[in-house]
Subunit: 469 residues, 3 copies
């Protein structure tokens, strides 16, 4: 069997027993998934997945980048012009190199998916590649393997998608109009209409004006348009916004200055410094709107997106070439926090790819400002060691209650239960260590485990209110 029941638990027998008990108490709790990138079409149209390669290989940038890093061309993975079109051949390429994933979270997630979703307990290898392919392909043709059925089977209570501010959310409307009981909520992600360096920024603002009837040629009209879209997202069930910025810089310009900056940006005359300033200003504007409408704000900064222009040009965005840069929050967030940091209505959840900020900045900030919460380990750090580092570095200063449980943050549907399982196990391991070293009583650990497994996410994202009709 690929999955050992004690995986990720500490080696020490006493500690392992405690971890096992803690995990057992949360293993079957429903999944709360407040931040992720599943395709709304899955939930709206409930289509069958085409084949194993399109389900598990091609869209998974963790998998693709690792294969590419060891010399596999994108084409062999079905990506780019003149790419391989036979999904079985793509699958074989993947299986032939499955050993590359030893020691990585992808390996844990894929083993988990193969076993728990498809009943395949033998580790993927060149020898069983075809047999596994056939077994998965056969299942994918069954109604039980369509997205909504998997949502139900995975025991998901609520899942948030991440949606452009310009999206009409018709897939969400489809869900709401259906007789399916799944709760799928959108998230307001306005990067494309906030970042002057985004592709088609001017056209995006034009479209934003058309959709909302606001004059996005003026600063005031532009802000009104955001308010209108946020209200629409709220109506559609959204409880949160999300902001992917190159840096965590915020700014708080006077009204006139902001309007002048907007004019430059709107006219396409923004310098790189203007663009950064505008993004910084807009974080504070978004925060002000969050105070008004109660939307939880998320900030995901510090990724240098599409680092290789060659890869982006030939194979597109999100191909595994987003590389973190060093960041610092302390000074960068101050303008925003000076405005809303002490406001009890505000909630800002912070994420980082620079782990040095956990103990140095994020825990001290979240351990002081009532508006701040710490998001779980993100992206490269959504792993056993990553979760351990987060808890070890953040807990002593911020405690548990200033964190918001787990986000799977994934576009790979079958990895959702796998990721939550890793998180629950890693947290059980961490809590068990606290118990064995007498920093926590076992009964306290048992009270904290379900908070980390779901309650803090529900509360942190304000998902406890009734879903939209």
């Amino acid at each position: 069997m690929a999955l050992h029941p004690d995986r990720l638990f500490p080696a020490d027998a006493t500690t392992r027993t405690i971890a096992r008990d803690l995990y057992a108490s949360v293993a079957d709790l429903p999944i709360v998934s407040p931040h992720g990138h599943t395709d709304p079409r899955w939930w709206g149209e409930n289509p069958a997945f085409a084949n194993p390669a399109e389900l598990l290989v091609i869209p998974d940038h963790y998998v693709v980048r690792m294969l590419v890093s060891q010399g596999t061309p994108y084409e062999a993975l079905g990506i780019g012009k003149e790419a391989e079109t036979d999904p079985r051949k793509i699958w074989r390429t993947f299986a032939a190199q499955y050993h590359l994933f030893a020691g990585t979270p992808s390996r844990l997630w894929i083993d988990h998916s193969l076993q728990t979703v498809f009943g395949l307990t033998e580790r993927l290898s060149p020898a069983n590649a075809d047999a596994h392919y056939d077994a998965i392909a056969e299942k994918l043709a069954e109604p039980d393997y369509r997205p909504r059925a998997l949502y139900d089977r995975f025991n998901i209570e609520v899942i948030a998608t991440t949606d452009s501010a310009l999206d009409d959310l018709h897939h969400h409307r489809q869900v709401q109009g259906s007789d399916w009981n799944g709760r799928v909520v959108p998230t307001y992600r306005p990067d494309a209409v906030i970042d002057p360096e985004a592709d088609g920024f001017a056209a995006n603002l034009d479209k934003l004006g058309e959709i909302t009837g606001c004059d996005t040629g003026t600063w005031q009209g532009y802000l009104d348009a955001h308010r209108a879209r946020r209200a629409f997202f709220r109506e559609m069930g959204a409880t949160a916004t999300d902001h992917g910025h190159p840096t965590p810089h915020t700014e708080n310009l006077g009204r006139a200055e902001a309007a002048t900056l907007f004019d430059r940006v709107r006219a396409g005359k923004a310098s790189a410094a203007d663009a950064e300033l505008f993004r910084a200003q807009m974080l504070t504007e978004m925060a002000r709107m969050s105070v008004d409408d109660g939307m939880v704000m998320q900030l995901h900064p510090g990724s240098f997106r599409n680092h290789s222009p060659q890869v982006q040009e030939r194979y597109g965005r999100d191909r595994g070439f987003d590389i973190p840069v060093p960041i610092s929050f302390t000074t960068a967030l101050k303008p925003l926090l000076d405005v809303v940091g002490m406001d009890p209505r505000m909630r800002l959840i912070l994420f980082t790819l620079d782990e040095t900020t956990y103990a140095r900045e994020l825990a001290p900030l979240a351990g002081a400002y009532p508006s701040l919460r710490l998001g779980p380990p993100w992206w490269f750090h959504d792993s056993f060691e990553g979760i351990r580092r987060f808890r070890e570095r953040a807990t002593e200063t911020a405690g548990f209650m200033n964190t918001v449980g787990f986000n799977d943050d994934t576009r790979a549907l079958c990895s959702i239960p796998a990721r939550h399982d890793v998180s629950r196990r890693a947290d059980a391991a961490f809590l068990a260590e606290l118990v064995t070293t007498h920093r926590l009583d076992e009964e306290e650990a048992h009270a904290i485990a379900p908070l980390l497994a779901g309650d803090l996410a529900r509360d942190g994202y304000r998902l406890t209110t009734a879903p939209a009709a």
Copy 2:
């Protein structure tokens, strides 16, 4: 019982036994406290503490900030205008949220204080809040719970306070004139007369001139005034100076250039860059004086003080809103080290809130320059995980002998034995790991444990000389 005798020891049975033995050998050694923030009035006047809230809640910024971060208003903690004035109600607010501290060092320190100082072995909770309050209040009325009695009971050998350069040290004089045998020494902390951005800087310099009879209107007179105050502090028992700077930058300007800079600073015409340059220059001046008078120099850089202007304005300084920033020592300290780094008379103890500097910069610097020693983990990192990270990252390059044991650095009297206990346990755990993995023999570990528990502090701070009369 709240405190388990094996707390903080490794889970592995063999390692735990070794850790237990190592700890037992140092558990009862006297406490050397060479850096901290206890109130000199306590030692001079030996007053009774007013009530449990004023002893354990209101002045403890670790406790206050955590409660604030989860929505408790400062007012409910007795801070600010229209604050709660009933200490029992403040205590109840604290007790109601004691679960927030799970996994934090505050929890360990408070449990330790309640049990070892007040005999309260049941963990604080809403249910026992009143009973605990009454028990503590009753004790506080007894003479045995006054500061000097606690000093004696805590087995403190020497404690250093941190004092403004302008302080007349009359509380220290009271101690020295009393028949009490405690050793309380001041520390020269001249930030208020060195930092051009300090509140009332110009007036502070005027006062410095008055006190010393030096002309603090000139660079030379200003330096002389420092020399005079240092000599006074030395006479009063001080062995060290302390410098809390925003950055570790040092500078070594020519005499004329320094004098010109001083003139700008003195005239209140310093730009932000001038202020930073002046602070940097003054670190080197202080180092030169240390070479002359033998005072050990401490540098505590990298905290963004009073991050929230709203909190500072309404509730004052030191309310839990000091947030670390990234720092680097390698280039910043070079001007100072070029002057005094190789001088055998010089001793500079470095502290950091940016743990990335431990292995990257501090251990290599202290493992080379004879003038440098590493201070223990500071502030947010004065915790079990923080101490472990420090030892794991610093020891391999700097060894043990380039560190200076432990500082409790606290303004919370009852936490002193608790903090030293955590430190001794954490060091025992670290040493035991080295023994179990055969990086150290058990006999060597037994030789090192008392160094870490006291000798390195005595030696590092030059406290072994006889106390002032």
Copy 3:
């Protein structure tokens, strides 16, 4: 006995047994040493080592700096004018302070050398200093303790030296012309002819012109001269180049701009910014040449060399005063990667002294770009904890196959087997943890262990081709 057979293995019994088995399977594999600083004269002339102090103390900057940091003058270690000349006295000074190395890798390496090379199982101490000295001195007079015999005894398969671009490699020629079967290959290290701030840069370029017959007065001729020297190094067996730069910055200037920059640099008119730009440009030029000639490129950035001018002036370079600075690769490497990053012919091995880059930048970069591999923990981090941090932080994102096994990187001959032993034990410990926590099967761990112990180095440095005649 100084060395315990279970040293560095995890405390937990089950995990330790797995680590022991893994280590046993690789303990006796030949040593592949693709990067280091042994003296080519040793291999060419095979001289006897003069005495214990000259073998084990004076040239070991790890040892010297630690003694200096605790107050020993360089002179007492045989360094500087009026230095101690009696090697026995130097040895005694070392032995008297051997306790300073408790908890450091030097202690592990020296214990290992004394025991496995000289049969001395009692730990060095003041009491046995003379006896150890005599025993070592006696051995050093025997032919079995000359460099080539030690190479054979240490079971070294191949060792790379690091050589100036201007070196005539005559010691390598001596090796190749001898009947000894050792494989010693040079490495092309052109810092002295690339860094405008290097001592004697202009003269170095003159010499480069003379040696190659190229006109190093022009940009084109200068590049041709590099090509010629690289070809010569290749003929002499080199498979790699190495670049020690203050930062990892790279640049990709247009041809005309680069030529103009070169003219300024060549004329000795380079500003500090010019010098940095030129170094940055040359990394990209070196990368282009690597694509052409197949030489593996190594980058070792981020050390502030000779931090104390006083030490450098009195005692020379490489005296333990090189201190790391914070660095970041993501933006810095982009110009180079935009040119060669996706080229399957390119291989660039990255090293760092700033461990924050492991998880944040290096693993994401190496886990995406096919041209990149991660070098092992370098310098201060070539230690048990350093190796653990590297594996814990890099593996989850980059896997094992994007790393290149171990480098001993040493100028201390006897430490070579000691360092490889520490590395093999640390990797066995890490793999065993993965097995115990069921992140890896034991059989997989057994497949990975020999990769880490040698195969990845052979492959990573393209050493599998037949040695030069």
